[in-house]
Amino acid sequence: MTEIFGISIQALLSQLLIGLVNGSFYAMLSLGLAVIFGMLNIINFTHGALYMMGAFGAWMGFTYLGLNYWLCLLLVPLAVGAFGIVIERTMLRWLYKLDHLYGLLLTFGLALIIEGLYRQAYGVSGQPYFTPDLLRGATDIGFMTLPNYRAWVVLASVAVCLTTWYVVERTKLGAYLRAGTENPKLVQAFGVNVPLMVTLTYGFGVALAGFAGVLASPIIQINPLMGSNLIIIVFAVVVIGGMGSIMGAIVTGLALGVIEGLTRVFYPELSATVVFIIMAIVLLVRPAGLFGREK
């Protein structure tokens, strides 16, 4: 069998695919962050906690209300989005005129409070959640057996990411949004309700985190700390892609998932660090990120 650096092509291909699955989560989460930063100039540190709320939402929906996975996939992001809208309306809106740092501190504090409340209520060991029947099992695709659920994760995430990109970059609504960030007063003068648009944008970004949480719930342990384990990597992804760049977040998310996957084969000890090494290099060479524009 052909080998590259002592690893068979077969193993390499399967690792690439797995990297893509993880990359899908990075992409979805960093997309939400990018949308929020791009439109609201808020560094949303609650994102990890909201992702966790999404996963818990799926579990609660099933345990307390008997809702199946598919319903949760639809309803939980809406609920998380609504929660986000409340945060935006009651707290974040007071901070838009201030330095980024204030938004960061507020959202970081909120994340700690949300995680603390969940920990108080559910402990840290996590809750069991099972793959929906339709997606159980695995398919033999030649070089590996891919669990059907993981294939679904990649499809769902790519679809959501591309739709978001299309709406923001290619439609009239997206044009209003982008114009609203550039010059809110002028856009408002044209009769567009900018504050409402900003609120809905935040709600949408946050709903993406909730969606990612529901998607993750069958494959990783649902516990209150799951978001904080992931959020730092996702921020690195956003920085590498370029703060606020939609396409940057998607492409970097997927690419870093793959790079991380390869590191796990060639030098597993480095796999937790590789993203940050790349971040440091990118910041040195292109401080605005790979897809970002210098202002």
Binding site: V21, R119, S125, G126, Q127, P128, A138, L225, V265, S271
Partner: protein
């Protein structure tokens, strides 16, 4: 909690002023007129379900069952969060021993914290009974005359699980190891047992702590073709490894061996995912009438069944108080001598004995997780496959590198 602390301070303040007078002569046997037990644990981090508030409840239960007083002096339980940081834990222990007059500290899960606090305990000549930590260092190079390692250690887990699995034909192993001291030592201890029993180790992969996804690592384990994938990790990492192994169909041709699995992990995984797994435990609430009685009492207070750490904290506290009673003083040296010379037999420890190196040896259990169809009531999770006798379960004293062991 704050109120209790405040009350505690007021009370001890009042006692000190009393003790200055004639009272000190009568209370001489109990220093400061109160026996204080500190539960130092992880209150909010990744181990807080194993110990945490449950350990405080367990210690308080032991104190209440003992009658709340020893040699006429009141017994108090205080608690704090060490945040899984060795420096925070050591600082708290020093404060407790010096300013709060704490006599004994227990729980102490997290090996880093456990070792740091054992050192403080030796300097202060006070007792540390470690129930929660896994490292064998506590009874080898880092042993002290004032520390006891109560419930389990990596050697006992590796030995029990490794030996049983090799005997059943699982003779080729691949390790999935958490890349820090604890994981390495668990992997090494198990690999030694596997080899000693005629098995072989085909390889290992080291993953970072709190890795978000285990599928890449598991694919490597899969391609090794080893019969057994040994999980030398803990908590969330173990849970996520098992979930991914199920999803990728690895459990069809290979078996998983959890090297540090607690009942809380099984509860969190659900039987559907955890079924069939073999591992070693120091305690199971549904083992006999005594354990069931404790389990149910604990459940009423904590709303969950006790882990081996919770049960161990109860037993350690109870036996510590009995030793004070028997020694007629709370002087650390006298109490340690009493503890080490008295066999321990209670609902937690069968055939228990505290050795000179501080190791409490007792029977351990090889358990297998039930199938969902076999589980009849909540928390009915294990089939106890074998009892590993105390003298076989732990590292033999002759191999201990503890300085207290005379060779």
């Amino acid at each position: 909690m704050l109120e209790r602390k405040l009350l505690g301070r007021l009370a001890s303040g009042a006692l000190i002023s009393l003790c200055v007078g004639a009272a000190s002569a009568q209370q001489g046997k109990i220093s400061d007129g109160v026996v204080k037990i500190g539960v130092l644990t992880d209150m909010s981090g990744l181990y807080s379900d194993l110990g945490g508030k449950g350990s405080v409840i367990a210690a308080q239960m032991a104190v209440d069952d003992f009658g709340g007083k020893v040699l006429g002096a009141p017994i108090q339980v205080i608690s704090a969060d060490h945040q899984n940081k060795a420096d925070v834990g050591a600082g708290k222990a020093r404060e407790w021993f010096e300013a709060e007059k704490v006599d004994m500290i227990t729980d102490l899960l997290n090996s880093g914290v456990g070792i740091a606090v054992a050192k403080v305990a030796e300097q202060q000549k006070r007792i540390a009974i470690n129930v929660g930590a896994a490292t064998t260092r506590l009874t080898n190079e880092d042993c002290t005359p004032y520390s006891i390692h109560y419930a389990y250690d990596t050697y006992a887990l590796a030995n029990g699980t490794g030996k049983a699995i090799v005997k059943q034909g699982g003779d080729s192993w691949f390790f999935l190891t958490a890349d820090y001291a604890f994981g390495h030592s668990l992997e090494k201890d198990t690999a030694d047992v596997v080899k000693a029993n005629g098995g072989k180790v085909l390889g290992q992969v080291r993953h970072p702590l709190n890795a978000s996804d285990f599928s890449s690592f598991l694919l490597q384990a899969q391609s090794s073709k080893a019969k057994i994938v040994g999980l030398a990790n803990a908590g969330g990492d173990t849970i996520n490894s098992i979930k991914a192994a199920n999803e990728f169909g690895i459990t069809k041709n290979q078996s998983l061996a959890g090297l540090l699995v607690f009942i809380t992990d099984v509860h969190s995984l659900g039987l559907q995912t955890a079924q069939g797994m073999l591992f070693t435990e120091g305690f199971y609430w549904d083992f006999d009438d005594e354990t069931r009685k404790f389990g149910k009492r604990f459940f009423d207070k904590a709303k969950k069944m006790p882990s081996m750490i919770h049960a161990g904290v109860y037993s350690a506290t109870m036996n510590y108080l009995k030793a004070i009673q028997a020694a007629g003083t709370d002087d650390a040296d006298a109490v340690m001598a009493k503890l080490k010379s008295t066999p321990i037999n209670d609902f937690f420890a069968k055939n228990g004995k505290i050795r000179v190196d501080g190791r409490m040896v007792h029977d351990m259990y090889l358990v297998q997780v039930k199938k969902p169809s076999e589980s009849k009531y909540p928390w009915d999770y294990y089939i106890v496959k074998a009892t590993i006798p105390a003298e076989e379960a732990f590292q033999p004293l002759s191999k201990s590198t503890c300085r207290l062991v005379k060779k």
